[in-house]
Amino acid sequence: MDFEGKTAIVTGGARGIGRGIALELAQRGSNVIVADLDEESARSVVTEIMAGGTQSYYCETDVTQQWSTDGMAETALEKYGQLDVLVNNAGVGGAPDFNSRKVPTVEDWQATFDVNVYGIVNGTQSVENYMIERGYGKIVNIASIAGRAGRPGFASYGASKAAAINVSQAWAFKLAPHGINVNAVCPGLIWTPLWQSIAEWRKSTDDQNAGLSPRQIFQHTVAESVPLGREQTPEDVGKAVAFLASDRARSITGQALNVDGGIRMN
């Protein structure tokens, strides 16, 4: 197993895609720190992981605060004595209730960049010195296909995800001489609480969607845009992360891999 005896941190690991990543790494032998703000959901992921036979621990973490991600890294080392993998997955679509606004406000832009961009920077900065000293480490950042090309409507989110790809490349360069791989995964369409709020936003901003449920809006989007004709799942993303975080990907760094059924090909 790729991650036997290893330790991974997954930010935003309490639900959705982060949960899928945490479970996938755990299944492959990893101990997992679930770093999130949502204690209740995080604790249920921890329980699920421990039932599978590896260790897991909830670490209350706000990725927008450097002191908080510093504490997250320290917790991993205290608990398990080493840190091999950091997955920067925590992300938001805007400030609270962003989906009730037609156009993103300055608060939405700020919140999106705080979590989706600085969150990655903070997490990375909290582990890089340790990884450099050790001469080993794997960092995987969750961007989005929204970061691959500008689109109207949700510009704040797309811009933050383009920045996430760029930030991954910057740290890939910086950390490459130290034996540390930094890559990004760009998920496509995955039914999570985040997508549910995006669907609600679409429902209120586009008359075409007025009579549809959020799930129906999602399914229409999948049918219209995914060449493989099906939605992607948190497990799919977890498996791609598990590949990039493993030694099987030892010569891969600075890349962004779309897990999107072929929606985008760059």
């Binding site: 493989l228 498996k239 010569s251 891969i252 760094t253 891999l257 779309n258």
Partner: protein
């Protein structure tokens, strides 16, 4: 990751990167068909595979010859079964003695395109019907970082590999609805007989490399251009191929992944 009971075809599987791919897939349980023009080497590799996974076959196939490709498709079914996995790896870098010239001839252009692009299309055509009928399949095409950007010295080769990336995307879209994924890998710098010739050519065509031996050209490029400061190996490429060929990547299609230590980040 497990390919037990699956059938894989590897073109150019006799030597170099193709051989490493064939051995990797066999190691994970696949029965492997080696399709190559180098009969002696193909025999050796097929024998090695036989020892690993218990099932292998070889068919002398020039990918530029449509009748031979059709023969290969039938021979695969007859010997080890219908193909689940197709790895299009056969490739050349020019016509006879290309490395002794500092420029590309019409023959270099024609033959390189004939093998790297038309050959890939020939092989894909004969296997897509097997896969479409069973509504499942994995195709992985070996492109090159040379196809990521035009560079001096090997315009015919770079253009052919850019075409491979484009062909990968077209094929992915054509086959998506048949549940067949098609992805490409761009290997970076690997010290194979092919690269020894590339080094000869670069020393003649690029002023900065004048007077260097092929290995010196290779080492200089790694130092200058590869953030990880390391050459890549056939094993590295094989691990990435195995990921795309596996169930873990079932929702990834049309993508091109660089296995290049960070040479290109796009």
């Amino acid at each position: 990751m497990n390919f037990k009971g699956q059938v894989a075809v590897v073109t150019g599987g006799a030597t170099g990167i193709g051989r490493a791919i064939a051995l990797k897939l066999a190691d994970k349980g696949a029965a492997v068909m080696i399709a190559d023009i180098n009969v002696a080497k193909a025999k050796e590799t097929a024998e090695e595979i036989e020892e690993i996974s218990g099932a292998s076959s070889l068919f002398v196939t020039d990918v530029t010859n449509v009748a031979a490709c059709e023969g290969l498709a039938q021979a695969t079914i007859d010997s080890i079964g219908a193909a689940d996995i197709l790895i299009n790896n056969a490739g050349i870098a020019g016509s006879a003695d290309w490395q002794t010239r500092s420029y590309s001839t019409e023959e270099d252009w024609k033959q390189t395109y004939q093998v790297n692009v038309i050959g890939m299309s020939n092989i894909t055509s004969v296997f897509r019907s097997q896969m479409t009928r069973r509504r499942s399949g994995r195709i992985v095409n070996i492109a090159s970082i040379a196809g990521r950007e035009g560079r001096p010295s090997l315009p015919h080769y770079s253009a052919s590999k850019a075409a491979v990336i484009s062909l990968t995307q077209s094929t992915a879209l054509e086959l998506a609805r048949s549940n067949i994924t098609v992805n490409a890998i761009c290997p970076g710098l690997l010290w194979t007989p092919m690269w020894e010739q590339v080094g000869d050519r670069h020393a003649q065509a690029i002023p900065a490399y004048e007077g260097l031996t092929p290995r010196e050209v290779f080492d200089t490029m790694i130092a200058e251009r590869i953030p990880m400061k390391k050459e890549q190996t056939p094993e590295d490429v094989a691990d990435a191929v195995a990921f795309f060929a596996s169930d873990d990547a079932k929702n990834i299609t049309g993508q091109t992944l660089n296995v290049d230590g960070g040479f290109f980040m796009r």
